[in-house]
C-alpha cells in the first residue's frame, strides 16, 4: 500500500482539484440541490463509492433532511427525515466526527431503518462525515459501497474535504437566499407608496442597515371600517429573514386586532398576548396611533418605543414624552394605556425606529434633540421624511431604519 506522499498525494491533489472545479464554477449557476447532486456524482467517482447522500440539519436542529442523493436504486418519493441521534447520519450529527460502518446490517423493520431510504439494497459498508460551519454541525454527508470495505484514513480525509466544500456552498447559498427572501418579504410588506387617506398627508421611508441588511422594522397606515385611521411604527428584535418573517406576522395580527377595536392600548394588549403565546422568543417595540374619523384627534399607545414627534405649523416640534408601556413580548399581562390629544389642521406626527437617532459616538438625547430640530422646518409629510433622512449623514445606518410622517391637511 502506498504511503502518503508521492503518487498517492498527487492523486489526492488531483481529486481535490476536480472537486474544487465543480464547487467553485457551479456555485453561481446551480441551485443548491443541483450543486450538491453534482458534487455527489463526483464523489462517487473519486471515492469509488456506489451511493451518496447529503442531509442538512433543519432549523430547530432536531432532524436531518435529505437534500441530495446519488447512486440510489430509486430516488426517495417522499422527503426523507432522519432524527438526530438515529441511524448513521444521526450518529454523525451527534458526534460531529466521521463514523464508518464496515458491515452495514440493514434493519429488518422499515420504521426504525433510518438509513434505508438513502442507501441501495445490498449496501455493505457506509462512511459518514459531518458538514461543519463555524464549528457547528450543519449537515451530514455519507457514502455507501456494495462491496465490503475498510475505509482508509485517506478516504475519510477526502470525504471530509467534500463535506467541507458542500458545507461552505450550502451556507453561502442559504445566506444568499435568506437575504434575498428577507428583502422580498420586506418589499411586499412595506409598500414604498402609502395608501391615500383623504385629508391626511402621509409619507414613509425604509433604509436597510449596513451591517444587518433588512431587519424587523416596519411602518403601516390603514383606514378602518369605522372611519378611523391607524398608523404604526414598529421594530422586531433581530435581523435578517427571521426578523422579517416575525415582523410580517406581527404586522398582520395588529391589522386584524385593529379591525376589532379602535382602542390602541386594547389592540396592543391583544397583540402582546398573541406574541407571548405564538412567538415566545420574539420581542418588538411599537407605537400604534388611531386618528379619529374627522382626523381631529389622535389616540396612541406606546409599547417600549422611542417617543413620537408632534409637529405644529410655525412652532418648534416636540417629543411626545408620554410614558411608554413595556415592549410586546416582554412580560406577561403588561399594563397598557392610551394618550389622547387633539390634532389641529397642519399638525402632524412623526414616528421612527431607533436606527435613526442612536449612534454609539453620542448619547440618545443629543440624537433626539437633533432630530426634533431638523424636522421643525418641514412643510409636508414628504419633506419631513426627507429631512429625517439627512440625519443619516449620507452613510448607511448600522441598524435598519423605518420612518413615517402624517400631517392633517
Amino acid at each position: 500500500m502506498p504511503r502518503r506522499g508521492g503518487k498517492a498525494l498527487a492523486d489526492s491533489e488531483e481529486k481535490v482539484r476536480r472537486l474544487q472545479a465543480v464547487t467553485d464554477a457551479a456555485l453561481s449557476q446551480l441551485g443548491l440541490e443541483d450543486l450538491l447532486h453534482e458534487l455527489l456524482e463526483r464523489t462517487l467517482d473519486i471515492l469509488r463509492a456506489d451511493s451518496a447522500a447529503v442531509l442538512l440539519l433543519d432549523q430547530d436542529g432536531t432532524e436531518l433532511v435529505a437534500t441530495a442523493t446519488a447512486g440510489l436504486d430509486r430516488e426517495p418519493r417522499h422527503e426523507v427525515r432522519v432524527p438526530v441521534g438515529h441511524g448513521l447520519a444521526g450518529a454523525v450529527a451527534v458526534r460531529g466526527e466521521p463514523v464508518a460502518v464496515e458491515r452495514y446490517d440493514r434493519a429488518g423493520d422499515g420504521a426504525t431503518d433510518f438509513d434505508g431510504a438513502l442507501v441501495p439494497a445490498r449496501t455493505a459498508s457506509l462512511l459518514g462525515v459531518p458538514m461543519l460551519s463555524s464549528g457547528r454541525v450543519v449537515g451530514v454527508l455519507h457514502i455507501g459501497t456494495l462491496r465490503p470495505r475498510s475505509f482508509t484514513a485517506d478516504d475519510i480525509e477526502l470525504l471530509q474535504l467534500v463535506a467541507d466544500r458542500a458545507g461552505l456552498a450550502t451556507e453561502a447559498r442559504r445566506s444568499h437566499l435568506d437575504r434575498a427572501a428577507a428583502v422580498a418579504l420586506q418589499r411586499s410588506l412595506l409598500p414604498a407608496r402609502p395608501p391615500t387617506v383623504p385629508g391626511l398627508d402621509v409619507a414613509v421611508r425604509y433604509v436597510p442597515g449596513a451591517q444587518v441588511g433588512v431587519g424587523g422594522d416596519w411602518y403601516d397606515v390603514f383606514d378602518l371600517p369605522s372611519g378611523h385611521v391607524g398608523i404604526v411604527i414598529g421594530d422586531v428584535a433581530g435581523s435578517g429573514l427571521h426578523a422579517a418573517v416575525v415582523m410580517g406576522r406581527i404586522r398582520s395580527a395588529l391589522r386584524a386586532y385593529a379591525m376589532e377595536t379602535d382602542d390602541p392600548a386594547d389592540v396592543l394588549t391583544r397583540l402582546d398576548r398573541k406574541v407571548q403565546r405564538f412567538e415566545p422568543d420574539a420581542m418588538a417595540t411599537a407605537v400604534y396611533a388611531v386618528l379619529g374619523p374627522g382626523l381631529d384627534t389622535v389616540t396612541l399607545s406606546n409599547a417600549g418605543h422611542l417617543p413620537p414627534v408632534m409637529m405644529r405649523p410655525d412652532e418648534p416640534s416636540t417629543l411626545l414624552t408620554i410614558r411608554p408601556d413595556l415592549p410586546l413580548g416582554a412580560y406577561r399581562d403588561a399594563g397598557r394605556h392610551n394618550t389622547r390629544m387633539p390634532l389641529e389642521p397642519g399638525q402632524g406626527l412623526f414616528l421612527y425606529t431607533d436606527g435613526l437617532v442612536e449612534r454609539k459616538a453620542r448619547g440618545i438625547t443629543p440624537g433626539l434633540r437633533r432630530m426634533v430640530t431638523v424636522l421643525a422646518a418641514a412643510a409636508s409629510a414628504d419633506a419631513t421624511c426627507n429631512a429625517a433622512m439627512t440625519l443619516l449623514d449620507n452613510t448607511a445606518p448600522t441598524d435598519d431604519v423605518a420612518v413615517l410622517a402624517v400631517r392633517r391637511g
Binding site: Q211, V212, D235, A237, G238, S239, M283, T285, N302, G304, H305, L306, P307, T321, R323, P324, D325, L326, P327, A330, Y331, D354, E358, K360, G363, I364, T365, D399
Partner: protein, 101 residues
C-alpha cells in the same frame, strides 16, 4: 464592538458586570452570561451596567428576557447602576422601572 463580562458570586446573589457596547454584535455574550447566572443556583441575579457605554434594542431585549427567565425559574433579576446614555434609553423606552424593580 467589545463587551467584557465578569461574574461574581456573593451569598445568594450572582452579579454579572458588563462593560462596553451592548448591541446586536455582542448581545449573545450577555444572554449567555445571564442564562448561566440564572442556572448557577443564585436566588438573585444582578446585571451591573455601570460600565456599559451603549445599549440598543437588542440589548434591552436581552435584559427583558433575563427578567422573564428569572420569573419562570422563581429567581429575582434586576439591573444596577445604569448610567448616562444607558439610563436615558432604558427610561425613554419605559423599561427602567421594570428592570430595576
Amino acid at each position: 464592538m467589545t463587551l467584557s463580562l465578569s461574574t461574581t458570586r456573593d451569598a445568594g446573589t450572582c452579579t454579572v458586570s458588563i462593560a462596553g457596547d451592548v448591541d446586536m454584535a455582542t448581545v449573545t455574550d450577555l444572554e449567555r452570561a445571564v442564562a448561566a447566572a440564572l442556572d448557577s443556583g443564585a436566588e438573585v441575579v444582578v446585571v451591573d451596567l455601570a460600565a456599559v457605554t451603549f445599549i440598543d434594542s437588542a440589548g434591552i431585549n436581552a435584559l427583558l428576557k433575563g427578567r422573564r427567565l428569572a420569573d419562570e425559574r422563581a429567581r429575582r433579576f434586576r439591573i444596577a447602576n445604569p448610567a448616562g446614555v444607558v439610563h436615558d434609553v432604558l427610561d425613554m423606552t419605559g423599561v427602567l422601572a421594570h428592570l430595576t424593580g
